[in-house]
């Protein structure tokens, strides 16, 4: 059998989580070495024999045997997981205990335990996400760096520091403790959502990387949903949101390889299975008393998926959903998003009015698409001169060549005094997309 795509990457998180449980979180580096050793052995055997029928089980068994070797060899020199201490000392108990810790049920919890441990309150959110991607999703430092458009050196520093915090946190998170579980769950949700958004709207130009990040986020959410304490209405809402957004992924790149806007997309390419799954999850999320930002954002995504054509979009409903989001999670960015939906629904003048009333609107001043939105509203109200000034302000703040190219087109459109319909539609999609990214990025700053 030939190796399936990303086989090692997919297995890496489970194995490192299981090993960390046995060795203790302070021996994180040792756990990583053992994973490497297990992969090395796999290559040595599989290169001539092909991949076995159940490569996961093979890798896990090999990792377990490597772990037993290490435990026997170093039990006097090192301390391992403190709660297992005495069991690991005696040969009578060592093998059965390790056997149990590598059983399928234990491993499910290991993954969750590691996920919660990575979302340590002492770590900034950006570091949590990088750590999750590195430890649980098997991304190398270089791959995490390119996913977040960061330099290798900067990411290495961030991950090394984060690992140190994790390794000195004394023990892994206890996933059986209900109160602590619920307390940290929001941070875990947030990290997963950031991971997803980095894939969906992120700056990385490579489409393949982005799709993978989305997939990883969905995989981690599935792990949460399998745990009795993890499958809360909020987790369902997050899962729904990701499904509904991910359903549009196949249509996001047009045949010539350009990013295709929500307005231009061939909606027949949307993944109907994911739409159905997303709507089902959204229904499951509608229990309990808590209405989270994920619920509302999932609802917004569902309104988009309901529209068979872009012009059928129910902007009125989207405005009221943004109203709800403003009560749950008020921020200038959400308010700007809302203003854009209002403009779609009631015209540019109403949009301008809404922008003027945004509380703490000055926080948007460094954000190019804030100025661009003003420009667009002014233009659509017929004030081309004012519009051009706004677009110029936006251009001065542009963060990459794609934004520059786009905003330059707007400036010259103002000078010509016309706007082609296609530009206009593309513009709104860029604004919505960028605002969402910025909204998610706020947590980092």
């Amino acid at each position: 059998m030939e190796p399936s795509d990303h086989l090692f990457r997919r297995e890496s998180g489970r194995i490192v989580a299981a090993l960390t449980r046995v060795f203790g979180v302070h021996n994180l580096a040792l756990a990583e070495d053992v994973v490497q050793e297990a992969f090395c052995r796999a290559i040595e055997v599989w290169r001539f024999r092909g991949v076995p029928e159940n490569p996961s089980a093979w890798l896990m068994a090999t990792a377990k045997n490597c772990a037993l070797d290490v435990l026997r060899r170093e039990r006097t020199a090192r301390t391992f997981a403190p709660e297992l201490g005495r069991f690991l000392q005696s040969e009578w108990t060592l093998a059965p205990v390790v056997q149990e810790l590598f059983g399928p049920n234990a491993i499910k919890d290991d993954l969750l335990r590691m996920m919660f441990s990575c979302c340590h309150p002492r770590l900034p959110e950006a570091a949590q996400v990088a750590l999750v991607l590195h430890m649980l999703c098997g991304f190398s430092v270089g791959e995490v760096a390119s996913a977040f458009v960061s330099t290798h050196a900067a990411m290495e520093k961030r991950i090394t520091r984060a690992k140190k915090v994790l390794a000195t946190s004394k023990k892994l998170f206890d996933v059986a403790a209900a109160t602590e579980f619920s307390a940290r769950l929001p941070a875990v949700h947030r990290a997963i959502y950031l991971l997803f958004n980095e894939g969906y709207h992120g700056a990385s130009p490579e489409t393949a990387v982005r799709v993978e990040l989305c997939r990883e986020a969905m995989r981690l959410t599935a792990v949460l949903l399998e745990h009795s304490l993890g499958k809360t209405p909020t987790t369902y809402a997050l899962a729904a949101l990701m499904c509904l957004d991910a359903a549009r992924l196949p249509a996001r790149v047009d045949p010539s390889g350009n990013l295709s806007s929500l307005f231009e997309q061939d909606r027949s390419q949307w993944d109907q299975e994911l739409v159905v799954e997303g709507l089902k999850l959204l229904e499951l999320s509608a229990t309990g008393s808590e209405l989270t930002e994920y619920h509302v954002e999932a609802a917004i995504a569902s309104v988009h998926t309901m529209a068979h054509r872009a012009e059928d979009t129910d902007w009125g409903q989207i405005v009221s959903l943004y109203d709800a989001l403003m009560t749950i999670h008020p921020s200038p960015i959400v308010a700007l998003n809302r203003a854009i939906a209002v403009a779609q629904n009631d015209g540019p003048e109403r949009g301008l009015e809404e922008i003027r009333t945004i509380a703490e609107g000055e926080r948007l001043a460094n954000y190019p698409f804030y100025h661009a939105a003003l420009g667009e509203f002014e233009f659509r109200s017929g004030k081309h001169e004012t519009a051009r000034e706004h677009f110029r302000a936006a251009l001065a703040l542009a963060r990459n060549s794609m934004e520059c190219r786009f905003l330059n087109q707007r400036v010259s459109a103002c000078e010509r005094g016309d706007m082609q319909q296609a530009y206009y539609e593309r513009f709104w999609d860029r604004v919505l997309v960028s605002l969402k990214t910025h909204l998610e990025g706020e947590g980092h700053n």
Binding site: E2, P3, H6, L7, F8, R9, E11, S12, Q36, E37, F39, C40, A42, I43, E44, V45, W46, R47, F48, R49, G50, V51, G138, F139, S140, G142, E143
Partner: protein
């Protein structure tokens, strides 16, 4: 056609899961290609990293081989090729060369008894 052994020396420690993936894919592709062209007589066996060395008249038994990682024989296989030159050409495609390892190509002596 003559027979040869390929002895693979050296160990490749992948630095990341994706690198492990790439290494494995290269091996699988190389091996598949050799097989498709009818060069694989026996796919041999991988060897464990540990072992014993029994040595001398005293029959001393030591843990070993404890060679440098690059010298450890990690596996072997039997190859059919026209001649030694041809066999060496086939070995040039081996992915172990990309990670500092080597392939020792040895003709198998034919015994006419």
């Amino acid at each position: 056609m003559s027979e040869f052994t390929f002895l693979f020396r050296g160990r490749e420690t992948p630095r990341s899961p994706e690198q492990a993936q790439k290494q494995l894919e290269k091996w699988v592709a190389w091996f598949k290609d050799l097989g498709a062209k009818g060069h694989v007589k026996d796919s041999g066996h991988p060897l464990e990293g540990t072992g014993k060395v029994v040595k001398g008249k005293q029959k001393d038994v030591n843990d070993g081989p404890y060679a440098e990682a690059k010298d450890v024989v990690g596996g072997y296989m039997l190859i059919e090729a026209k001649d030694l030159h041809h066999a060496a050409e086939l070995a040039k495609g081996c992915p172990i060369l990309e990670v500092g390892g080597s392939v020792e190509v040895r003709p198998i002596q034919i015994l006419n008894m």
